[in-house]
């Protein structure tokens, strides 16, 4: 993906399912809000505490992609750092992106209005 031409979307509130393995090796799951999303980096507000270095998989539904057979897109990230530990905001960096996920993320980032719902008007 050409990160030069893809914008980073900010002011999002995209619900995502977060799957990760905690420090004890236990598989965990929670919900999160994607607040920013770019070609390589993302910012997540998590329902649970995450450790730096932890690998996570985000399952998201991008609006305007009904032509794909699967609704969900799986995005693989590593927790790079906490942006605001107190409020459980984390900075993420992509690891492996399969071809379709790659393509769909790019499509979403290029959309003129990436906000998926009434929220933008409501604020």
């Amino acid at each position: 993906m050409d990160s030069e031409v893809l914008p980073t979307r900010t002011d999002l509130q995209l619900l995502t399912r977060v799957r990760f393995r905690d420090a004890t090796g236990e598989d965990r799951e929670c919900f999160g809000n994607l607040l920013e999303l770019g070609p390589r980096l993302a910012r997540l507000e998590s329902g649970r505490t995450l450790e730096a270095g932890c690998h996570i998989v985000l399952q998201v539904v991008f609006p305007g992609q009904r032509h794909y057979p699967r609704s969900h897109v799986a995005l693989n990230y590593i927790v790079r750092d906490s942006h605001d530990e107190a409020n459980l905001l984390y900075d993420l960096e992509t690891t492996v992106l399969e071809k379709e996920s790659h393509e769909r993320l790019a499509l979403y980032l290029r959309r003129e209005n990436a906000t998926p719902c009434a929220r933008s008007e409501a604020r």
Partner: protein, 368 residues
């Protein structure tokens, strides 16, 4: 000396000093959502950030708790709350209700305390040097008033005076130049509806008659819309969005945002995947139009007008005897509410005050 007025609302809380609403520290808003979230790291969030966490950590994010402040666990109101809200309520040893959260049992009074605490910090008001008035619905009972005063005291507001919300509203409109003699206050907030006939002929507004419906407010509109969404999805896709309380809470939350958007837009939409990622059609947009909102509001409006009928009867008056209607409460932003009230009274509405700020402003102007 200036007075601090605080409208401790079901959905939002506002402070005002000397007739002006106090901006929060973000410089943008004056309304602090009355929402408290208990995070896994032990931290507490109040306001907008907490409201956002409803979607991802529902059972630890408390809202609308004013609906049951000062009510016993075995009361009708608490039973009703348990049926309608996706929060875990338990009976505390003293017979009062408490929310089960990861931080332990939290009473509605404690929720109010946290909200007031955050309001003081984020507006920078200095309650130790200034007298404070906190508003309550006119029909709040003794225990409800006591619980509100207790929350204020715990938040460091010291000795506060309580003032009925319709009286505060009248103070605000009178200060802004209303020459009304006999006014009607129509206050449709997030969780409660207050209406009153107020005599404004002397220097201070005087309640002639009033009533409250403490189970009617903007929350009910959200529930109506959410019920419609649930029914539509069930019928079309055989998928029940109410199977999990967390999912249904997200539906409620999206419906609230759609309702707010519809006060200025003709339509609002959200993706089903935004409320339930497991839904078989997560990329299906759910459209809510203003027309649908109007239909869902109709019965609730009718309930509010039945209360208005009762108040007018109490005061031996008819709608035509009212010279001005003072609007208050966030739900008054809705066009369907404004049109309905105007047509019920056959008189124009007093405009020019923000319905979400007017109660706090009035409380800051009220004289003993």
């Amino acid at each position: 000396m200036h007075r601090i007025g605080i409208d401790l609302g079901t959905t939002n809380t506002v402070a005002a000093v000397g007739g002006c609403a106090c901006p929060l520290d973000d410089g943008e808003r004056t309304t602090l959502p009355s929402v408290v979230a208990f995070l896994p790291n032990g931290r507490l969030q109040v306001g907008e950030l907490a409201r956002r966490r409803r979607a991802i950590d529902g059972s630890n994010t408390l809202f609308s708790s004013k609906r049951i402040i000062g009510r016993r666990y075995d009361s009708h109101e608490v039973r009703n709350f348990r049926d309608r809200y996706p929060l875990e309520l338990e009976e505390a040893p003293d017979g009062w209700p408490a929310f089960r959260t990861r931080a332990g049992l939290i009473s509605p009074t404690e929720v109010a305390t946290h909200v007031l605490d955050a309001l003081i910090t984020r507006t920078g008001i200095e309650p130790e040097d200034t007298p404070v008035t906190v508003t309550v619905p006119a029909s709040f009972s003794g225990p409800q008033r006591k619980a509100t005063a207790e929350a204020a005291a715990r938040a460091g507001l010291g000795e506060v005076s309580l003032l009925e919300e319709p009286v505060a509203t009248a103070w605000a409109y009178m200060a802004c130049g209303s020459r009304s003699e006999r006014a009607f206050v129509y206050d449709l907030g997030g969780g409660t509806f207050d209406c009153a006939v107020v005599d404004c002929t002397s220097g201070a507004p005087r309640l002639l008659a009033h009533t409250s419906d403490l189970t009617l407010g903007g929350d009910d509109v959200d529930h109506r819309l959410a019920g419609w969404v649930r029914h539509s999805v069930l019928e079309k896709y055989n998928w029940d969005l109410a199977s999990y309380s967390e999912v249904y809470d997200r539906v409620l939350s999206e419906c609230e945002l759609a309702k707010i958007a519809l006060s200025t837009e003709e339509r609002a939409e959200f993706l089903l995947g935004q409320v339930d990622p497991e839904c078989p059609v997560p990329d299906e947009p759910l459209v809510i139009t203003r027309q649908l909102l109007d239909v869902q509001c109709r019965e609730l409006l009718q309930r509010s007008f039945s209360a208005c009928d009762a108040v007018l009867r109490q005061a031996n008056l008819q709608a035509k005897d009212i010279d001005t209607v003072f609007l208050a409460g966030g739900s008054s932003y809705l066009a369907v509410v404004q049109d309905g009230v105007e047509s019920y009274f056959g008189t124009s509405l007093a405009m020019g005050m923000e319905p979400t700020e007017v109660v706090a402003i009035g409380a800051s102007l009220a004289r003993e």
